[in-house]
Amino acid sequence: MTEPLLSVENLRTWFHTGDAVAKAVDGVSFSIGSGETLGIVGESGCGKSVTALSILRLVQQPGRIESGSRIMFEGKDLVTLDDAAMRDIRGNRISMIFQEPMSALNPVFTVGDQVAEVARIHGHGSRRDAWNRAVEMLSLTGIPAPEERAKEYPHQLSGGMRQRVLIAMALIMNPALVIADEPTTALDVTIQAQILELLVDLQKRFGTSILMITHDLGVIAETASRVVVMYCGEVVEEAEVDTLFAAAHHPYTEGLMHAMPQLSEPRARLNVIPGSVPAPTDWPSGCRFRDRCPYSWERCEREHPPLYEISPTHTSRCHLAVEPEHRANPHPPLVEQLGVSV
């Protein structure tokens, strides 16, 4: 493998509120190659969005990237970069697409101005050049009649069109990496299909790397080539997309897949992951999933599992990697044994 484009090493982003410390991201490592789409999947509170914000250093107080974290991008460590250099990277080398296109756009400027603004911030050409480039980008994202649409305000556009505008903004500087944080969650399913198609198409054309953050395994399966599963602020599994869906190793990934209703499966009772995600101020000791896990044994309580290598491209934070025999005797998870309801 060649040098990755972005490599996140032991990222820890903690929120210091009063006397509690919420360890939203707690030792996350992964890397993205050039032109690759890496998916991060997890449920709310798993730290996936904070990870994205940390890469762009957009985490707000009281959140803080703890020392020891490294985010290597094009030979620079983004954690220690000064603010001016960081501003030069945002929107230029790394850009972001947000979930809610309405609140990500400024209601008092036309969408053309907002797209052109990105080009102007990064100092390329005249106002006219920037505008022309913005119109060109809007056209590339499949907005019909881009010259006219560029003069409209966000509220005049539909949700799908606004998301296209955000994509145009994200891609106008031809960045090396686009972080898409739940880019289709707020959209209807037919519009989601359009947007995902567009992202995949644009990626092929520009060779951009995409970090696709979502809770939707379907979106992951259709866009990503490699997947990182997060739980309780940690990476619990990382694999090629085919491997993950065919042979998930970590019990959380497995549970997540079983819990998801599938179009292709007959109407049946869904399997659930009992219990709920613990509070980020109080992650369990040992394995953070053990109370909800059907395979856990005493080692899981005693020893925080490292990321075991299952194969050269597959890692899992589960002791089953070294003691696979425990998978043979599943038991009701601890949360159920204790009668603690969900």
Partner: protein, 390 residues
Amino acid sequence: MSEPSWMMETSDRIQAVERMQEAERGGPLLSIRNLSKSFPIRRGLLGRTAGEVRAVNDVSFDIARGETLSLVGESGCGKTTTGRSILRLIEPTAGRIDFDGRDVRRLGATGLREIRREMQIIFQDPVSSLNPRMTIGAAIREGITIHRLAEGSAADAKVQQLLEEVGLRGEYATRYPHEFSGGQRQRIGIARALAVEPRFIVCDEPVSALDVSVQAQVINLLRDLQRERQLTYLFIAHDLSVVKHMSDRVAVMYLGKIVELAPAEDLYREPMMPYTQALLSAVPVANPRIEKTRILLEGDVPSPASPPSGCVFHPRCHHPAKDAACAHIVPPLEEKAPGHFAACIKQLPTGVSWETQQEAGGVNPPVRYLPVVKQLARVDKSAPPIGRHS
């Protein structure tokens, strides 16, 4: 490898069939005929009415006792308005709603209060559906008090029992909504609706705001409750996978109209209306090995304030026989296969004759067009049970 006990799947399809058979004997519990709801559009300083949005346009369906009928569609299709109109939380503009033989639209204040004991609703947003200044015990107790179902310690006991029934601890009654997670709040909302012992519940996107694992818990809970209490559901959702797991029959809405209505199995196996086909093909499949033929719809849903003429879907339609007739003839919701209704004059069989279509400018005779059928069938066979070790 043996299935872990907590993962055991209990297919209750046989029960569903029995339920449907039993339901046919008693007649529908709820019967909706030609339901419409228009909202005026106000413009200018004086708020003059400048037209109207037909959020729900001439919708008819029945729900049998013990059945789950799902309403699916994208935002703005009128599914939520339909659900709320049935309970008269929104007053419909036209149409008839019969609940167990009673004409809901003609009920006075007392009659409405009575019937609301029997019809309940569960909401989408677990944050706004509970009063932040009321303990959850008080919230669950409210219906009991209003309908004088129990008093004093008997009411307390009932609250405890309801909490336990939805999988929460009885002692939570004294806590406030903000102390609970989204899934727990949704359980509280369910307990609040169950408190008055309804027979029919409108589930308005009850799991849309929840995470995957919690969503599965709530779906299972709703299904368990249905079985235990013989409930009838109108399940409103936009997630077709969730709908498939919940429903006996499914109605697809587009721009205020029902465009397809069929038993769930049939609708997912053989969608007839081109919109349903596109909708089903758009759902991301959590299996990277499946090659999909995706029908990508052009553009956005038109504004319900000025819906297209004829078939409301025609500007975005991909049916190969689409022609000028589609812009002129409003397609009736007709039975294309036993129990399978769809509104498309180009999908065979159709009662709108070829002559009539030609008079309206039609040039392509209707054909049978089922582009996603093969694909969905293939999904059924080839998809390995994901994430399972074998």
